[in-house]
Amino acid sequence: MALDAHVPGGPLEEKWERHRSELKLVTPANKRKRTVIVVGTGLAGASAAAALGELGYQVLNFCVQGSPRRAHSIAAQGGINAAKNYQNDGDSVFRLFYDTIKGGDYRAREANVYRLAQISTQIIDHCVALGVPFAREYGGTLANRSFGGAQVSRTFYARGQTGQQLLLGAYSSQMRQVEAGRVRLFPRREMLELVLVEGRARGIVARNLITGQLERYAADAVVLATGGYGNVFFLSTNAKSCNVTAIWRAHRRGAFLANPCFTQIHPTCIPVSGSYQSKLTLMSESLRNDGRIWVPLRQGDLRRPDQIPEEERDYFLERRYPSFGNLVPRDVASRAAKAVCDEGKGVGGTGRSVYLDFAGAIARDGEALIRRKYGNLFQMYEEITSEDPYHAPMRIYPAVHYTMGGLWVDYNLMSNLPGLFVLGEANFSDHGANRLGASALMQGLADGFFIIPYTLGGYLAGAAGARVDTDHAAFAEAEEAAAARLNRLLAVKGKRTVDDFHRQLGLLMWDYCGMARSAAGLRHCKAEVAKIREEFWQNLTVTGTPGEFNQVLERAGRVADFMEFAELLAHDALSRDESCGSHFREEHQTEEGEARRDDGRFAHVAAWGFAGVGAEPVLHREPLVFERVSPSQRSYK
């Protein structure tokens, strides 16, 4: 089946404006009668709840955390892009659009990306009004910096805590709507089922994590803003509670999952130190603006970095990519680091890291300026490694960071299931096969503040179905399914812990679905996932009962979903028999080792339909048509 993305007609520049003018409206009196469920309170979820509340909808807003402010957007460091051209350096909406679609290696939908670039400027204005303390110039204007993969300075930031400040801004407007009585908060709730009535999304079943009770919530539409699935790799820069459950449960109910193999590996993370490691820590890639990445020229060179003279160092990014140097996109930088480590030039105890060196920048700008720009990142590095980056180069290695894939959505951000909308990292829409730095925050806020308020209205004003309440049989069925799954997890009574299984799955995925993939490896991976999953259901141990606060049971449920999802990820990676962006198939590379796309066969979105656990998923293609840009081989040389 070919998917229709419902992209409006007309020239690219006018599509969104025209669409907004044509979307049906819900009158203020009727908005009050409409209930919308928003699952998730990160940038996308909090901004959606706030904006929908401001319009007058009744919003039920759920999160797994104890407070909405703790959603993982809070951890984003570097910044947020906007095509303001405040620096007079030639930026424009078109250039941001072009950079984003090229950065995504021509695997994103043109119209969505153009809209994102258009909206970017409004986001900055709104966040300033919310009191986000962006960095400023002495004259009081907003400061910008250039950021991973961009030749213009269009990134706005608040020290190294941009995500925190933006999320607290969105959270503050969400709290204002709670006070106004339009948003009801449900913290410590985990969505376990999507409820469909006559094919439309009409509610959810959530587990109250404090009491363990299953609760039913009905609405006129359901909005998922539940983040990415990077934790399928166990070790990632994601927070511990990031999971695939909400979108996987929706997928099992019929929502298509698109491009799951597009997973981003971030180049600047603190390397793994031991087998007990519970997560990896990212350091903003803004560090690449001033730090130079290198390894010793000679394999197995064990000298201290300060004893290796300049001529015996390989600044491999500057060497391979003279025009972008250390600022090449994330996928390119990560693969290059892996390549030099595979050649035996990696540094540190494990040989799986490269240097990120600030000696030159400190000599040029002085330690005080570097401290002002990156102080918190340097401090964080020192806390974790007990090494002082002001006096010795940092050691970094790539880690799983962001997932471009997610539930398939059309131009209105609605999935193939009517009434189910998906925002932020949870959808697949805007970043193609690779996301550029400082674009995730932009997308989350664009979706929540500026797109869903319009498109949701368009849906509700049309035929949204009759009123449904939680006594409907569909709710009872969904609740029974959720309860049965919880009981099944507790009934295994085996000998291995949840984390033990999760680590095993993660390592497998990292080895075969990480920075480099091959057909043979992916086939092996799929078979192994099935084996691990089988053992999981025979040998898992979960303590406690379902009717109480039970963190082990929470994790077990999430890992159970990862066990199913991982196979789809590997299947998608196998079926995409080309290299593009973050998806690097060893069989498809140029002589210089760069990704080689196959636009003839793969210029499409692969949206998968669920056919049963272990069964072959059903492929639905959305062809990607490029009207404005012509796909070319990415070159950052």
Binding site: A135, V178, I210, E383, E548
Partner: protein, 255 residues
């Protein structure tokens, strides 16, 4: 680092409480073969995995980002919120801060406004309710002027940011003999109060937030400065003076 690093053995004495209405008690657990490069929470992960394998109930504690920014973690370690490190959260505390044979006491935040959920997990939603009372600028989406229409001097932006870095962990409350939330509230009052965007509602905001704080059962400030000492973001207690001044001014009806 490598597996050859010296390992240490510890005894944990941990607060166990089945749920909010159950009585609690301290219980001892061995933590054996701990690497100094583990974080404090990774050490608890290891202990919990061992408990789970024995069929015992693992110790409930909260954490999420594990990089010091989400504010979810927060343990009272040997009587100090977030433990011995300065300017760090519990997840940023590494076992190299302890030595072989140490006995470590671990308790939840203790405050009437932060009821225990289970073991070391407390309910901090009182902070959200304080924010609902006025921790925002009243701007609807779509109505903002151009970002550069409003000039904010660099030092003002930095001053706001110094306060805005609060992660809402509640260590300030846990450290305070009065369980006061003054530093938490002051950080928000300062952040929005110095910025031009926050000025129109400055008086109303401070009145509403202070009232909400009292309503939630947080105590008053008696200048102990414990909050500043334990704040993982090293937020200055001087912001409390700013809050007090704003509050007084608002009470007296001055702009």
């Amino acid at each position: 680092m490598s597996e050859g690093v010296k390992r240490i053995n510890l005894t944990l004495v941990v607060w166990r409480q089945a749920h909010g209405r159950a009585p609690g008690r301290m219980a001892a657990y061995p933590a054996q073969g701990i690497s100094p490069d583990m974080s404090f929470l990774e050490m608890l992960d290891v202990v919990n995995d061992q408990l789970a394998l024995k069929g015992e109930d693992p110790i409930a504690f909260e954490s999420d980002c594990r990089e010091g920014i989400c504010g979810a973690c927060g343990l009272m370690i040997n009587g100090v919120p977030h433990g011995p490190g300065r300017g760090t959260t519990t997840c940023q505390l590494y076992m190299r801060s302890f030595k072989d044979g140490d006995i470590i006491h671990i308790e939840p935040w203790r405050a009437a406004a932060f009821p225990v959920v289970k073991d070391l997990v407390v309910d901090r939603s009182a902070f959200d309710r304080i924010m609902q009372a006025g921790g925002y600028t009243s701007v609807n989406t779509g109505s903002a002027p151009d970002g550069n229409a409003l000039l904010v001097p660099q030092e003002t932006a930095e001053e706001a940011m110094d306060a805005a870095v609060c992660i809402g962990c509640g260590a300030c409350v846990a450290s305070c003999r009065n369980a006061s939330a003054r530093l938490f509230v002051a950080a928000k009052i300062k952040h929005l109060g110095v910025l031009p965007q926050g000025r129109p509602e400055r008086g109303r905001r401070v009145m509403m937030m202070v009232e909400a704080m009292d309503r939630e059962g947080f105590g008053n400030c008696t200048n102990e400065y414990e909050c500043e000492a334990v704040c993982p973001k090293e937020i200055s207690a001087a912001h409390i003076a700013f809050l007090n001044r704003d509050y007084l001014r608002a009470r007296l009806g001055k702009k």
